[in-house]
């Protein structure tokens, strides 16, 4: 009896340890690459540190208090929100329109798919530099060097010629449009995949019932696509709020604070003013804001699904 119990408990223990043993690599990787950096970032956010020195000073929640009063930080959040808003509307509307077109039996359908997916594949730095040249404002021998201004003068719309990236009224919008141009391909692919999962029989049934094209679109396509829309929205929000490479490659260190976005602000705090602790605090606040956005959208999505 005793031997039997011992045997069971040994096997049970072995099974238990075996289970832990199998999840150990995942736990280790998750701890080292996710939990440790996060904890370390939080610890640093409570300190004043220049990023190099071995000494840092504990300052409690001072960095977080300072964030509340940091007008430039909240301005950068607003700029990111503006870029996101343009991406959510202009970028996703374009992506959906193109996805709808490519979902039909049109000629060169595959070619269009490749072409529309090209911008997201390009490096953000390359895209930024190309658009910087397109939007360039200088002249040589009486002719505009930038493609857009050159084109505008050629079609006699000289009143629209502009220093696009160094005017506070247009700089951020230009960045937002370029960001949308670069990003619409992602939305296009996801939305096209979503459209193709809709059962064709639903369309046929609707047509048999006498529904017109708009009615089918409104009552079949849109409701079936809602989960995909929500996913594209979440990805758009996360991607657009974190935009920064494009900003750096298009306007360098910025046009006063008119093109400042959260990540450039975090970078400026780290490398510009050497305030790593403050930069970590900004990173945590920014991460929390994005998490709240994602959770909220996820909840909304679930609610729609249930309905």
């Amino acid at each position: 009896m005793t031997a039997n119990t011992r045997k069971i408990s040994f096997e049970g223990l072995r099974e238990l340890l075996g289970g832990y043993f199998f999840i150990l690599p995942a736990v280790l990787i998750f701890s080292v690459f996710y939990i440790y950096p996060f904890v370390q970032t939080f610890i640093l956010s409570l300190r004043e540190w220049n990023g190099i020195s071995l000494n840092s000073q504990f300052i409690g929640f001072d960095n977080f208090q300072e964030i509340l009063q940091d007008g430039v930080w909240w301005l950068s959040m607003w700029h990111a929100a503006y870029i996101t808003l343009i991406a959510l509307t202009f970028q996703n509307a374009l992506a959906f329109a193109l996805a709808l077109s490519c979902d039909r039996d049109i000629r060169l359908r595959k070619f269009y798919r490749v072409v529309f997916y090209l911008p997201p594949v390009l490096s953000e730095v390359v895209v930024g530099l190309i658009w910087q040249w397109i939007l360039y404002a200088g002249m040589q021998n009486g002719e505009h060097v930038g493609l857009l201004n050159y084109f505008l003068t050629k079609i006699h719309m000289n009143h629209l010629v502009h220093a696009w990236l160094s005017d506070p009224k247009t700089a951020l919008t230009c960045i937002a449009i370029v960001h949308s141009w670069k990003g619409f391909g992602w939305g296009f692919i996801i939305l096209l995949a979503g459209l193709q999962t809709i059962d064709r029989q639903l369309y046929e049934a609707a047509r048999v019932d006498g529904a017109g094209s708009f009615s089918i679109f409104k009552n079949v396509t849109i409701p079936m696509m809602i989960p995909v829309f929500v996913m594209v929205m979440i990805l758009t929000i996360l991607g657009s709020m974190q935009v920064f490479v494009l900003v750096l490659s298009m306007v360098g260190q910025g046009l006063v604070y008119h093109t400042e976005v959260p990540v450039t602000r975090i970078l400026a705090s780290m490398t510009g003013t050497s305030r790593f602790g403050y930069a970590c605090a900004l990173g945590i606040v920014f991460g929390l804001i994005l998490m709240v956005f994602s959770f909220t959208l996820n909840k909304i999505s679930r609610k729609f699904k249930q309905e």
Partner: protein
């Protein structure tokens, strides 16, 4: 038997993995100088032939990426034998305090200070810490300049001639007249990479030294003179004048220096504000470009126009590296006359070794002639708080785009200065 074999093999792998690496004869150098990489590699090959020591130059560019890399490497304690620290002196101080940079004073003073004497003093000053320095760093020399540089203005001889200007301007009024003449014939006046805000800071500090002198500038940094002082308003007004008189090329506030260099090299602007490294850049972009070097035109004739300059690029030796001695020997070789002449001819940078000067091209010699007028934040006794510098530079951008006037910016910068002084006092 099979099991035994695997156990022994595993043990061997483990033991080899844990044993300390044998000290290799390789010196690794991290740098950011894209224009010098080829020349460095050639020199490394030559050094290998002469000494049998491998030197590996690893390029990380652009400079802001490089700066982030060395900070990350310092945090992980994986810096190479030789590297450079970019930015203000406080950054160099942080690396020294953390024990990452070797004090090279003894090496410089060997053989009756032969190494030290061969190099430009102004270039050495950038890495020198005097007795009682404000950073409380042990006095000594902590870096090796491999070239010198200064930042001045350049003028395009052909474009000036097109506008009927025979002599380049030396005063600010003459400069404005020249710009008006250029604008009349449809030529843009002035270009610079002011999208990189340190260049705005550099230009502004030239005028601050010219308007009020070094003592008053330092007094401002110490918090004894406010930015609302009339002399600082004059400095801000320089930018307002540049804006109002249409001196600047379109889009200057967001223009990176590479684009500004392209504009000047392709004759889209008659004047530029750039460092001596531009000689190499312009040569590659437009070898037919005819241009000259001039100091920024003075506002105040009573004081000299001091310009930023000194050590162009410096290397430091990693104090915790096992190949420290090899690294120092290589730097001595790199800064010797022959190698410096080679570097100057190949890369068109001003050599750090004085003995190499007679053999350099004329434009570089013109740049070199102003070395006595150079100054640099790295050798100033006091440096402004980075947050104030940011407010100052962004404020100037605001003036340039017509969004604010000098008095308003001065008040805003002073507000940031006071906030920072209070914050420092609290801690």
């Amino acid at each position: 038997m099979k099991k035994m074999f695997f156990v022994v093999l595993s043990f061997l792998f483990f033991a080899l993995g844990c044993s300390s690496a044998k000290q290799s004869n390789t010196v690794t150098v991290w740098h950011w100088m894209t224009d010098r990489q080829d020349a460095f590699v050639k020199l490394a090959q030559q050094y290998k032939k002469q000494t049998g020591i491998d030197v590996v130059f690893e390029l990380y560019a652009p400079s802001d990426i490089y700066s982030r890399k060395i900070i990350a490497a310092a945090q992980a304690r994986v810096l190479p034998e030789i590297f450079g620290v970019l930015g203000e002196k406080k950054k160099l101080v942080s690396f020294i305090e953390s024990g990452f940079i070797a004090d090279l004073t003894q090496e410089f003073q060997k053989d009756d200070a032969a190494w030290e004497k061969s190099l430009f003093e102004k270039a050495l000053d950038v890495n020198r810490f005097e007795v009682d320095n404000i950073y409380k760093i042990k006095p000594g020399l902590y870096g090796v300049p491999i070239d010198v540089t200064n930042i001045q203005m350049l003028y395009n001889q052909d474009l000036l001639a097109k506008a009927g200007i025979k002599v380049f301007p030396t005063t600010f009024d003459e400069f404005l007249n020249a710009i008006a003449a250029l604008n009349r014939v449809g030529i843009s006046g002035f270009v610079s990479g002011w999208g990189e805000i340190w260049m705005i800071d550099c230009f502004a500090s030239n005028y601050a030294f010219n308007v009020m002198g070094e003592d008053k500038v330092m007094a401002t940094y110490r918090g004894e003179v406010p930015y609302t002082d009339e002399d600082w308003i004059k400095v801000f007004n320089v930018f307002k004048t540049l804006r109002d008189k249409k001196v600047l090329i379109e889009g200057i506030v967001t223009k990176g220096n590479k684009y500004a260099e392209q504009d000047f090299a392709l004759e889209r602007a008659a004047f530029a504000f750039n460092g001596s490294w531009c000689v190499n850049v312009y040569d590659k972009m437009n070898s037919a470009l005819r241009y000259g070097v001039m100091l920024p035109p003075r506002i105040n004739p009573e004081r000299p126009m001091l310009i930023w300059g000194g050590a162009g690029s410096s290397f430091v030796v990693n104090d915790i590296s096992r190949n420290k001695k090899l690294a120092v020997d290589f730097l001595k070789w790199l800064t010797a006359k022959e190698q410096q002449v080679f570097l100057a001819q190949e890369t068109k940078n001003l050599p750090a070794n004085k003995e190499a000067l007679p053999l350099i091209p004329k434009v570089l010699a013109d740049f070199a002639s102003a070395m006595d007028l150079t100054t640099h934040p790295s050798i100033w006794k006091y440096n402004e708080d980075p947050l104030v510098v940011e407010a100052f530079d962004k404020g100037i951008q605001a003036i340039l785009i017509g969004e604010a006037e000098p008095a308003k910016i001065a008040a805003e910068v002073q507000k940031v200065k006071q906030q920072e002084m209070e914050r420092q006092k609290k801690r």
